[in-house]
């Protein structure tokens, strides 16, 4: 199918003008009914291959952004990003990979209480949000990440979180050991070592 250049122009202008990433549905609204919006975006991506700005898909929606390899040139544009504490980074990672998850679960995993300050800082970044309540006693609030989180880290979808597949495969995202046999062996090794 040939792509109408005019449709590519429209998509280009819309993405440039928008204040936030635009979903394909929004693009479709502005294009004639029979236009394949995905093909239009594919053409736009091809057009911008190797340019200083590029259309990318984040959080399932499209936006233009500068090419990452130009980061140094754009140093002056850099916004002062607050350095997150180790506790905040860890808490964010746990929320991102385990969502929806409760504060108690974060605390259990880290073996230490999550300070109110840590949650406040994360809320302030706009990267986490309450996602509802767990239907367990006390109905604790569950937490998850926002689209802003995906945009910031350049992720199209939560399934694109780095190392997610590996973590799932090893069962490390569940609270219970997945390979009890392994530990038996290890404990036996311990005993053997002690017996030496």
């Amino acid at each position: 199918m040939t792509i109408d250049r005019e449709h590519v122009r429209i998509a280009e202008a819309l993405l440039f003008a928008a204040n936030e990433p635009l979903g394909l549905d929004r693009l479709k609204q502005r294009l004639p009914d029979d236009v394949d919006a995905e093909a239009v975006m594919a053409a736009l991506v091809a057009d911008y291959q190797g340019r200083g700005v590029e259309p990318v898909r984040v959080a399932g929606r499209w936006m233009f952004r500068t090419a990452p390899d130009l980061a140094e040139v754009l140093e002056e544009e850099r916004v002062a990003v607050r350095r997150l504490s180790r506790a905040a980074v860890e808490t964010l990672a746990i929320i991102a990979y385990h969502q929806p998850t409760t504060r108690a679960e974060v605390e259990e995993l880290r073996g230490v209480a999550v300070s109110k300050g840590t949650m406040d800082v994360l809320m302030e970044t706009g990267w986490i949000r309450p996602r509802g309540r767990r239907q367990t006693p006390g109905r604790p609030v569950t937490w998850g990440t926002t689209d802003e989180f995906l945009i910031h880290f350049g992720l199209d979808d939560l399934s694109d979180l780095p190392g997610l597949d590996e973590l799932k495969a090893t069962g490390l995202l569940s609270s219970d050991p997945q390979e009890p046999g392994l530990f038996d062996a290890q404990v036996n090794a311990d005993r053997a070592g002690k017996a030496d």
Binding site: A17, V89, H152, K194
Partner: protein, 267 residues
């Protein structure tokens, strides 16, 4: 997994418990709780966490806390609890029997601790990888001054045919009451007509006659009939006032009778 912790640009790597010249420098404040300390000690074993020796780890931890104690460093309660728990775990692991039936075996407890450490390690690495990515505002930028999409507000008005008809019907009803005689003027039987007819017929009526008898008999139209009734009544009242007739009505809404005034005095 046994690679040294990679420094991340986003947080300072803690380097507590450094072994400087054989003297242990204890800085518990740099740890995020006992698990964090355990994880750090486990790293010193330089093996995959899945193969860590829990016994050795327990020894390391207890030794660490003891040294802190010797240095009169105030050790938070949760570290002490962990040290006590590890000492207990160690005893359970080394004395395989008798295992109490109603609690997890020493091996299970060790397995759980090992799992907890692996999970924490995994999340720590995940955080580092996340922040090692190209990030907005650092490595790439959004449009600095987006023009925005202009929003045109348009109102769609809600009103269905039912609303419209009901409004018109309501209007007609109100109008009907305020202008009842609008379309009827041509059919009105005037008081003047009624007066003329009564005067003409009066002589022919012998005695008391129903008002009905004076009505023009030509129209069957109910409106004209009502109009004639009203006008004839008014004519009769007018004539009574002039002393030309007498009127009698036995009861409310009862029939009305009229007769010509007798000329001779009634006395």
């Amino acid at each position: 997994m046994n690679e040294p912790p990679r420094p991340s640009p986003d947080f300072e790597e803690d380097l507590p418990g450094q072994d400087t010249g054989g003297r242990l420098v204890v800085d518990l404040g740099a740890y995020e709780g006992p698990l964090d300390l355990l994880l750090d000690l486990a790293r010193e074993q330089k093996v995959d966490l899945a193969r860590i020796s829990i016994l050795r780890l327990a020894d390391q931890f207890v030794a660490f806390i003891e040294s802190a104690h010797h240095l009169k460093i105030e050790v938070a309660a949760d570290y002490l609890v962990m040290a006590a728990w590890l000492a207990y775990l160690k005893s359970r692991l080394l004395l395989p029997n008798p295992e109490p039936e109603d609690e997890p075996s020493g091996a299970e407890m060790a397995a759980r601790l090992g799992w907890q450490l692996r999970r924490l390690e995994a999340m720590r690495k995940a955080g580092e990888r996340l922040f090692g990515r190209e990030r907005e505002g650092q490595d790439f930028f959004r449009r600095g001054a987006p023009e925005g999409v202009r929003v045109l507000r348009r109102s769609a008005w809600e009103c269905d045919l039912y609303d419209l008809l009901r409004a018109y019907a309501a209007h007609r009803e109100v109008q009907g009451e305020s202008e009842p005689l609008r379309v009827r003027r041509t059919n009105v039987y005037s008081v003047e007509q009624a007066l003329a007819r009564m005067r003409k017929l009066l002589g022919a009526m012998p005695d008391w006659s129903s008002l009905q008898a004076y009505l023009p008999g030509t129209s069957t139209d109910p409106f004209t009939r009502r109009s004639a009734t009203a006008s004839t009544l008014l004519a009769a009242l007018e004539m009574a006032k002039q002393g030309e007739v007498e009127i009698r009505q036995g009861r409310t809404f009862g029939p009305i009778y009229v007769r010509g005034r007798r000329n001779e005095p009634s006395s």
